[in-house]
Symmetry: C2
Subunit: 423 residues, 2 copies
Amino acid sequence: MIVTPIAVGDPPLLNAAGLHAPYALRTIVELISEDGVSGISEIPGSDKTTQALRDAATVVVGRDPYALTGLEQALRGRFGEDVDDQRGLQPWDQRQLVHMFSALEVACLDMVGRATNRPVVDLLGGRARDRVDFSAYLFFKHAGAGGPLGTGTDPSASGWPAARQAEALDPTGIVAQAEAMCEVYGFRSIKLKAGALDPEIEVESMRALRLAFGDRVPLRIDPNAVWSVDTAIRWGKELEGILEYYEDPTRGQEGMARVRQSVDIPLATNMCTTSFDDLPGSVRLGSEDIILSDHHYWGGLRASIELGRFCRSFGLGLSMHSNSHVGISLAAMTHLAAAVPNLTYALDTHYPWQSDEVIVGGELQFVDGSLAVPEGPGLGVELDRDALARLHQNYLDCGLSHRDDEVEMQKVEPGWTFQSTRW
Amino acid sequence: MIVTPIAVGDPPLLNAAGLHAPYALRTIVELISEDGVSGISEIPGSDKTTQALRDAATVVVGRDPYALTGLEQALRGRFGEDVDDQRGLQPWDQRQLVHMFSALEVACLDMVGRATNRPVVDLLGGRARDRVDFSAYLFFKHAGAGGPLGTGTDPSASGWPAARQAEALDPTGIVAQAEAMCEVYGFRSIKLKAGALDPEIEVESMRALRLAFGDRVPLRIDPNAVWSVDTAIRWGKELEGILEYYEDPTRGQEGMARVRQSVDIPLATNMCTTSFDDLPGSVRLGSEDIILSDHHYWGGLRASIELGRFCRSFGLGLSMHSNSHVGISLAAMTHLAAAVPNLTYALDTHYPWQSDEVIVGGELQFVDGSLAVPEGPGLGVELDRDALARLHQNYLDCGLSHRDDEVEMQKVEPGWTFQSTRW
């Protein structure tokens, strides 16, 4: 078992928690069997996650990659239940044990797929579809490219690479960003990460997108739960008829349920219902219409299949959340989405924002906003050893030990603090 | 794809629907791959099920055994949605499409397991336990052994084979049946199929079992939903402190919820919540504490894993239902139960009642009421060709085309009719 933290270039994207650092952190897990079959995976990175995974090696090494239930039991035995449960307080998820198991499960399934010469989608019940649609994911942002350039820019860039580093702090900038991204990737639906600027600017940006793209392109906005219930209802009413879904406008299942009763747009979440333990509250309160799955956070690919069954049974829609990621996670997301019949919404992906890649062959190629399930056994992607070494060196050099968008924001706006409800 | 209906000897057991015929019908499915790998399964049999499965061959043959989601979609495309939905009206389940898919899914997983040299439990995430506990399953019954003997008996029998053919129509008979069955199989929990005699006799039988076995042996009663809500509450109160769980005392989720509010015993069901579509009603009404899974009825082994996740998430217990069956289903039930961490109740099984077996080596052997997960790839059991031929001949000879306990009962009690609420 080899655990390698990497840092990939990430532009200065704004969100409710602050500002993306010049590097997004990921942790790469490799498992290698006695007979030389390997399996890989990728999860959100931090020194803590890297250390926890390295500590887990005593539990993992020597196990059977098929024995996933036993692995989960063994991890729980070794580390106890999650104690650092910060769900809901930050836009991303901190549950260490679920993260660790998710990373290990994907690597085990990749290994099993390679050993049996089968794609991971087949280990999940086989394909419900051959191609998976993704959504454009727009951000308000400062000028800058991230990575070694930091807040600088490459003046020779054009097209999407230029738009990727351009400032976007108003509706005009967002429309330009959308047009450049959609031109290259062919996305046919659009999501705006909101909760960063005044709601009026963000809602105005959605109206501008609607004007620019017409009603053929479904639109989503995600204020990351920093709007009050009243604010979410007020602006939600302005957005009726414009949005495909309204993602986490406010915090918590109770608040979401109140917004849902007042606004005639399907509500979606990856913040108030983020684990199986949250499902009873979701059903009781009716907090959302659509759950955004995320195999990194729900306990792996098989658990995500189980979430899919739940959504089907309870008449909920199913979409997919994304964090900054590279091609291993993108491949896993694609295998999963191909396997789940009712995952009918285009998936989120931060992929266009990352200019680094860790897999052989470089970036996976979108056609008309969709990806084919990767060919070949397992996840169908291979680690590029040179890229891995380079991105690991980035990690060592960049000085980041964990994601902290608040600290990054303070570098630009001294004294800025995260507020769980800002507007 | 080979579909073979069989008839296995079954004693004259009483239940709410009437009386078991001298033969229980099962349908055996064999899939054989191009490269000679086979997979087998077993489901409740009838001419209709046999014909439907044979009709399905056009959809099944040539497919990939990993492509289970695609198979389900193809079956739905070929046969449409279930039209003959008799759930709730009879104690057993008639949903043709779910039955067919369940049978085919198990055979596919058996084939995949054989092809990869892995037991089916590993294809379900691996073992949560090595051995699976089963429960004694008692019936009121007329004298008779079933099978070729019909209502006759083999006077040379002793021990359990003698008790199996003995009459049991009162508490004394039930206790004797329990003692003989538990002595041979080592069961450490006991279920009584009720809804057959006056509730007073059935409740008295539970008291007699408690006296005979003490509080070390958990007890269950299953009136198969033919008690009114008032009757279920009245006798439920008599059974408080005696039962591990109270299974389907009355009909429907509403009725079950009312009983559950009035009686201090966990309520269990395999009649009011029998499909994923029933789960929202179960949550809304609180109709039961424990769901009895059944891979034949819930859409296969993987769907049953998904049901397990639902129960864990919603704080419901999980047990397992049984129909008359032979060793293929018993092996599948054991693999499934070994894989589901929260399947903590001893499983139902009719196995001691069937004197015929279709697998090589004859009956699977219980130790202290439990079965080890079968060794070997796939389900770990092989078809005995001679036994299959003999039991298929039974099917052709016995004149039964489907299970009809009402008609069998009328042979003993002319004019008897099934009543959905009898007491």
